[in-house]
Amino acid sequence: MSALSFAVDIGWGTTLAIKTLVILMIVPATALILGYTFLLKMMSHMQSRLGPMDPGGFHGWFQLVGDGMKFMQKEDIMPAEADRRVFAMAPMVVVVSTFLIFLVIPAGPDIVVKNLNVGVFYALAVSSLSVIGVLMAGWASANKFSLLGALRAAAQLIAYELPLLLAIVGVVIQASTMNLQGIVGAQSTGSIFGFDGLGNPYILTQFVGFALFMIAAQAELTQTPFDMPVAESELVAGYMVEYSGFRFLFFFIGEFGTAFAFAAIAATIFLGGWALPASWGLSVGLMRFVGPAVLFAKIMFVAFLMFWVRFTYPRLREDQLQALAWKVLIPIGLLNIVATAILKVAM
């Protein structure tokens, strides 16, 4: 099932080139979309200000592109004490983990780069690669603030991998598959106690899982209230403090690209992904074109929730964060799995 097989039959080399190009484009593009929509405009309006209004003419839509150009012109500063090669590699490791997530997210009946049978598992596995980049950045910067930030990030990302996985296990049990297309299909054709008007989006039947996933994703993305690794009022910018110019841009793209990727995972496994309920009777041919738009709308809804929380809440403390993960989220996740399994067998 290749990405463009529905259009024309082209060679595998061309397909691969197109896929690579799309994936390379999608991360900066999504970072721009989220950064502009939420960081610049939504946050500004929540804080009774306008945000950028001039660049590009319409509500400052060009601001982030301009910022990106500015970052490219900046001097590439590297601390004298830094471990130069590790320092240079760290941002790339972070961004690569973002690229890898997008490989398995389906945007239509056959618009997916690689339809893996263990899609969910793969997505979560590669998403946690970024912690290596963060640790590298913090250690190589030869800065105490960076080091504190990186160690906090490592502890936090490891602690929140578990609730993230446990939240998804319920969905996997219900859908009986780890394939993301399979999960989308199960939601589209499913029914809730015989009512199939909405299909079975797992946000309704796996609400606990959804809440767990969103909280854990917020921590994975190091967004408020779990943004201790970058805590600007204590650690200034944590592991990013020594980065400037293009390398900082990489971190920025990584941050927002990953936010988009997590929103995409949540939209796919809890909100039905690109599909609309099968009972609505839309043809597969139509969904090839409507599907990406449907997915995008769902992603933006999930991202809105994430950023709404980010701009509203204060930050927890490191020990409170760990306590929340191990004492609250993981037990709830386990109970959720047990309950789901019992219901799955009983019904």
Binding site: M43, L148, A231, E232, S233, E234, V236, T312, R315
Partner: protein, 394 residues
């Protein structure tokens, strides 16, 4: 330059010594060393250039040492070379967020030495402006505290709502931050037309802002988790370090110079409550300031209702010469107890002035307070003590 190395000195070394040395080295390396972290002088949480040398074990603070003086401007010396009317310009800049409140005690001291008393209308306007600068300082704090514990949005609300008050002060004095409006014996100008009604409107907005902050910040569970039980100042320790103002009242000490000190301005005519909180932690300091903002609004409303008419300037000579003598005035500033000890030798300027600023004493408790807390708590405690660098370093 000789090309040969100097001959090695000959030692009779016991080979066992090396082993012992290596063991000792091992012991050092396997020990977890402390890390010394410099917070500041350039750090977003220090409101300026306070430097905090913190010794850390992991994230826990073993010892903390504030280093001050990066902003020392030598006002106590500078005022010796200036006349009394010129000095208000300087002392405005001590606590730059509530400049007007700095002027009042100094002018009060000069008036006491000269035996002049400002007319009632001037006293009322002074009190109103002092309370307005208190409101502007506290409203900013209410938002700023949110920012320091990680919530971005309240800071913008704080700046937005302070703007209304700053505009009011500007309308009267012409200066947004440094009014320089007090004169020995009265004020520079009277209130502009329509100002009283405008103030009532703004006070309504501040009331609403306080409700917002109570919901958004003080009512937030994460904020509770971050501030309750953090940085507890027991009343006797606080008093021993000279902590004053809202910080001390948050420890349950019912002490407010507006009510308990020597009478100044027209606070004796007002009906107001002194808010205290029994806990003494960071949350209590936030809560007390929140209540005091509301209380200040009530006080300004009372003052506006009772504003007398009449002159705003007493009869004073054109060239102000203060007779010989010395006087101590202390007032309740937004940040705490502020005092001036003015020593005059009968010239146009003071001979010596000692400035007692609140923040200097408030941060002196930091080494005691910061032992054993986590790094994020350091920021919470700094934010909740609410100091201004100009007020520490003068």
């Amino acid at each position: 330059m000789s090309t040969t190395n100097p001959p090695l000195p000959e030692f009779d070394i016991d080979p066992r010594a090396f082993r012992t040395l290596a063991d000792a080295q091992m012991g050092v390396e396997l020990d977890t060393g402390d890390m010394i972290l410099n917070l500041g002088p350039q750090h977003p949480a220090t409101h300026g250039t306070l430097r905090l040398v913190v010794r850390l074990d992991g994230e826990r603070v073993i010892a903390a040492d504030p280093v001050i003086g990066y902003m020392h401007r030598g006002y106590e010396k500078l005022v010796e070379f200036r006349t009394y009317p010129q000095i208000t310009t300087l002392i405005n800049r001590i606590d730059w967020l509530s400049s007007f409140a700095n002027e009042v005690p100094f002018i009060d001291a000069a008036e006491k030495l000269m035996g002049v008393e400002a007319p009632p209308r001037a006293q009322y306007i002074r009190t109103i402006l002092t309370e307005l600068s208190r409101i502007s300082t506290f409203v900013l704090f209410l938002g700023e505290m949110g920012l320091q514990v990680g919530a971005l949005t309240p800071a913008f609300y704080g700046f937005r709502d302070r703007e209304h008050v700053v505009n009011l002060i500007e309308a009267v004095t012409g200066g947004r931050f440094h009014p320089n409006f007090n004169r020995v014996g009265g004020l520079k100008d009277d209130l502009p037309w329509g100002w009283v009604n405008e103030t009532r409107t703004v006070l309504k907005k501040i009331y609403d802002a306080c409700d917002t902050f109570e919901d958004l910040v003080a009512g937030n569970e994460i904020f509770h988790a971050r501030t309750k039980g953090v940085g507890i100042i027991p009343p006797e320790i606080g008093a021993a370090y000279g902590v004053s103002g809202s910080n001390l009242r948050a420890s349950g000490v019912d002490w407010d110079l507006r009510r308990d000190g020597a009478p100044y301005l027209v606070y004796r005519d007002l009906d107001f409550k002194v808010w205290t909180h029994p806990d003494g932690d960071s949350f209590a300091r936030y809560w007390v300031r929140l209540q005091e903002t509301r209380e200040s609004c009530r006080m300004v409303l009372q003052l506006l209702d009772a504003l007398p008419s009449g002159p705003i300037m007493a009869k004073v000579p054109r060239i102000i010469k203060v007779p010989e003598g010395e006087v101590w005035t202390e007032v309740e500033n937004p940040l705490g107890q502020m005092g001036y000890y003015v020593f005059s030798k009968g010239a146009t300027g003071p001979f010596r002035v000692k400035i007692r600023s609140a923040s200097f004493s408030n941060v002196s408790i930091l080494p005691w307070l910061l032992r054993g807390v986590f790094v994020p708590d350091v920021i919470t405690i700094l934010a909740s003590l609410y100091f201004i660098l100009g007020d520490i370093d003068r």
